[in-house]
Amino acid sequence: MFNGSKKETDSVLLVSFANGDRKAAQQLVERLMPKIYAHAYYRLGNIADAEDVTQEAFFKLWKFAPNWKQDRAQVSTWLYRVVSNLCKDRYRRAALEDLDLTKEPTDEAQSPADKIDDHYRQKALYSAMSFLPENQRLAVQLRHIDELANPQIAEIMGLSIEAVESLTARGKRKLIEILQTHKAELGYSDG
């Protein structure tokens, strides 16, 4: 059974959950949900879809838990991959045009004035990222926002490390180009 130690890896927690320890699920959610939700939100651009995808990904994890082997991939890698596939499914269903990537998050706990600068920066970045091809966008997001290592990104995307490096580099170049050429449309200027 899980004893609550911080040293427990995600895999150990998942196996504990599969063996009947409900507290292990709580620990896993506290560790992984913020990252997974943020990733889904950056990909989909709205709270409702990001929440649905996050919940669905964790539901798949709970169902898969009894078959989990500790020597396999990290739990976070597995979740990122599931979320990535779920997001792709949503893209296909919505055919992209229904997704408003510039929609503001409805965060009622903070006043708009407190976060206005960050809001403009985030809005500009996500708008610019929405112009990237899907693979480049995912690679850039996993590397520079989710801060994952290239081998983990390669595992999530099912590509070689070299391919990930190439995608990330091209994505960044394109992002710079977009941010430079669409300053006005993206809501920021040279000040």
């Binding site: 959950f17 959610v29 929440e51 539901f59 965060d107 403009y120 920066r121 970045l125 300053k183 920021y188």
Partner: protein, 122 residues
């Protein structure tokens, strides 16, 4: 508004820093829903398995009073089924016991208590 730096690489890094430093926060409700799903997954996994026909049969056997009474019940059931399927003709065994050929012993053409003889005499 953000000021654009001279170095585009640095400029982009600044955007990433902002995105990392203020990630979108999930509502507390989402955590509750995810943990409810975990509970459901547990409940499904630990539900009693559906019982086999053998378990049910053994339960009924106990109710009948264990093996001797079940054997008696089975025998009488089998006998009942056999009797139902192959209905015995009871007239034959009785005729055999009394050594009577039931068909030939009855003479429908002959006299009845000597009445024919009486008529013949007259």
């Amino acid at each position: 508004m953000v000021k654009n730096k001279q170095n585009p690489e640095e400029d982009l890094s600044m955007f990433f820093e902002v995105a990392k430093s203020s990630p979108p926060e999930a509502h507390q409700d989402l955590k509750v829903r995810i943990l409810k799903d975990a509970d459901k997954a547990h409940e499904v996994r630990y539900l009693p398995r559906p019982r086999s026909w053998l378990a049910y049969a053994l339960d009924h056997l106990k109710e009948l009073g264990s093996i001797p009474s079940a054997a008696g019940f089975a025998t009488s059931l089998a006998a009942g089924v056999c009797i139902g399927l192959y209905v015995p003709d009871l007239s034959e065994p009785i005729a055999i016991v009394f050594q009577i050929d039931t068909f030939n012993e009855v003479d429908f053409t002959g006299s009845f208590f000597g009445i024919n003889e009486i008529f013949e005499d007259t």
